[in-house]
């Protein structure tokens, strides 16, 4: 197992290299020029050229790339063109809200989705199942930002139960932190809840038709033990896979939610950096996102071995 993990970690290096290559050149071939933005609306060609030279953007692209990769290998992601702050520091500052939002969204989604899926499969084609699946379709079809505004209107504006927007870091206290996350997590989580609930139902239905479930029933085991141990553990691999895909989608999905709820996370940082063509920041962020996805995939693959004893690495 350890050697497998080590091998997998090494295998991420080429992936990250390709990501770095792509993001670097894609950004530079994309229209827009950070020097022109810095120089201002009525800048002359000379002043723009001066800014370019100062930022090192006038040098050949390959040279710029080599310099950037050289820095990366030393753990340095460069400096923001606009704020002059180190990219690593910018990202570190914005990491907490995004990680908190991703995890709480995932928590909301999984905690709702798995029981819904299990009950729907158990009561397949009955009323509960149909209601649950109708709810899932609705949840999946509803755009996050629409749901976000509906939730804000009722829970924050009308009933004033929760803050309208903003983010309270955990060091300001656990309850304000949780309060600030509830609405965004629900708004963002419903889509994933719908996805995970449907997969849970489908996977459970398949498992419930297996011979070993008949065996479990022939032993007179309690329904909850048959469903939650005998069936769910067998149904878990596809569910965990979808949860993993969900995490990957969430990392990009937080952008809209962070904007609607005014949360200072990586999503907002990304949007701002892209709009300003802040190359080093965008590059750093994309690398962090890619690294997170690769890591999540690895964790999912490892979890299979714990769920199914037949899977060994």
């Amino acid at each position: 197992m350890t050697s497998y993990i080590v091998r997998r970690l090494f295998a991420t290096l080429p992936v990250m290299a390709v990501v770095a290559l792509f993001v670097f050149f894609l950004l530079r071939f994309a229209p827009g020029d950070p020097a022109a933005i810095i120089a201002g609306d009525d800048a002359t060609a000379e002043s723009i050229a001066a800014v370019r030279a100062k930022l090192g953007l006038d040098r050949p692209m390959v040279e710029q790339f080599v310099v950037w990769v050289g820095q990366l290998l030393q753990g340095d992601m460069g400096v923001s063109i606009f704020s002059n702050l180190a990219v690593t520091r910018l990202i570190a500052q914005r990491l907490e809200p995004t990680v908190a939002l991703t995890l709480s969204t995932l928590f909301v989604a999984v905690v709702l989705a798995v029981p819904i899926g299990v009950v729907a499969a158990w009561k397949a084609r009955k009323l509960v199942d149909r209601l649950a699946m109708a709810f899932a379709v609705l949840g999946f079809a509803m755009p996050t930002f629409v749901l976000a505004y509906i939730l804000i209107y009722f829970f924050a504006v009308q009933w004033q139960l929760l803050p309208v927007q903003g983010y309270a870091p955990i060091k300001q206290g656990f309850w304000p932190f949780v309060e600030s996350l509830i609405l965004p997590s629900v708004a963002l989580g419903i889509t994933y809840m719908a996805l995970i609930a449907r997969i849970t139902r489908a996977s459970m239905l398949e498992v419930l038709a297996q011979d070993y479930i008949r065996t479990a029933n022939s032993k007179g085991l309690a329904t909850d033990r048959v469903l939650l141990l005998h069936a769910l553990k067998n149904a878990a691999v596809p569910i965990v896979t979808v949860i993993g895909i969900g995490i990957a989608l969430l990392i990009s999905g937080v952008v809209i939610t962070e904007t609607v709820f005014n949360i200072p996370g990586l999503g907002r940082l990304t949007v701002d950096a892209v709009l300003k063509r802040d190359y080093p920041v965008v590059q750093g962020l994309i690398l962090v996102f890619a690294g997170a996805k690769v890591l999540v995939n690895l964790i999912i693959d490892i979890s299979y071995a714990f769920l199914d004893p037949r899977i060994r690495y």
Partner: protein, 335 residues
């Protein structure tokens, strides 16, 4: 008879709803099982023998099937009207079951020990540690070597024969009065088949558990059972002690089954050829249409107009030997 029998099935009808209509999988079957007895239920695929077994434990999936009528009495208690919760207390405890497919009947993600012990914990109200001791004891009993280590193994680490031993250990872990074995050896190698059957008989003698052995294999029936029920198209066509049945089968269907068994004791003729195995002509009837007359009539060489219009009742044809056939005298004379 009623006093001695532990399980009594009377006029059982089990039906399934399908797109083609209602399938009468079990259509008025009656039999009883005496304490500690081994009863064989024989018939072709689709004759309703497995559905009969599932009906006794009330494991017919309610979405598609139901026990339409009839009575199943276990130790004098009517099972068809028992609540689901009461049924659960019975299953795996006083009546347990093993299945045809040892490869898929065990849960692949739970250890063997867990799967045996959970049955004990559920029904005997003992702590897990005691249940695990019991599980190890049961593995010893079904002669799985190195039981302590095997407890922590998963089904995929065991061979087919060992898995069926585990199923037997699980089924017998709470000392049931009745063990229903649905084709327990069909999926196994011939050598393993004999071992499993011997084991079941040996354990039966040790524990006094009655066995209902469901099979299509008359060889298995001859070796292991005391009494046999022959089923055809959801109905019982013949019942006899195993000796009487093999000495003189009375139903044309039973005779057909026996002629379909390969035999080594038949002399080859001068040309060195042995008589061809005789199959029963025709197919099992479609059960969605109500069957008029004897279900076997379309495939039967003795059939008359009466057979095709009127269902034959079960009649006594000798000591405890009953048969449902209008032409039983002609059949008897033909042998």
């Amino acid at each position: 008879m009623a006093e001695a029998s532990i399980l009594e099935v009377r006029d059982l009808h089990t039906q399934f709803r399908t797109l083609d209509g209602i399938v009468r999988a079990v259509d008025g079957v009656s039999f009883h099982v005496a304490r500690g007895e081994t009863l064989g239920i024989v018939g072709e695929s689709g004759c309703g023998k497995s559905v009969t077994a599932m009906s006794i434990l009330r494991l017919i999936p309610p979405e598609t099937g139901r026990i339409a009528s009839g009575s199943i009495k276990f130790e004098g208690e009517e099972l068809t009207t028992l609540s689901e919760e009461e049924m659960k207390r019975l299953r795996g405890h006083r009546i347990s079951m093993i299945f045809q497919e040892p490869m898929t009947s065990l849960n692949p993600v739970l250890t063997v020990g867990t799967q045996i012990a959970e049955n004990v914990v559920r029904h005997l109200n003992v702590p897990w540690s005691a249940a695990r001791d019991r599980a190890r004891e049961m593995l010893d009993l079904v002669r799985i070597a190195d039981a302590r280590r095997r407890l922590d193994e998963y089904p995929h680490q065991l061979s087919g024969g060992m898995r069926q031993r585990v199923m037997i250990a699980m089924a017998l872990s709470c000392d049931p009065q009745v063990l229903i074995a649905d084709e327990p050896t069909t999926a196994l190698d011939v050598t393993i088949q004999a071992q499993i059957l011997d084991l079941m008989i040996e354990l039966k003698e040790k524990t006094g558990t009655a066995i209902v052995l469901i099979t299509h294999d008359l060889g298995v029936v001859a070796e292991t059972t005391e009494r046999v029920v022959v089923m055809y198209a959801g109905r019982k066509v013949e019942e006899a002690s195993v000796e009487a049945l093999f000495a003189e089968p009375l139903h044309p269907y039973t005779r057909g089954l026996m002629r379909a068994i390969p035999r080594l004791d038949v002399e080859a003729d001068a040309a060195g050829t042995r008589p061809r195995l005789q199959e029963i002509p025709g197919l099992v009837p479609i059960l969605t249409k109500p069957i008029v007359g004897c279900a076997f009539a379309p495939r039967c060489g003795f059939a008359t107009d009466r057979c095709r219009s009127e269902a034959p009742p079960l009649v006594e044809g000798g000591a405890g030997h009953t048969v449902a056939c209008w032409e039983v005298e002609r059949v008897r004379a033909s042998a």
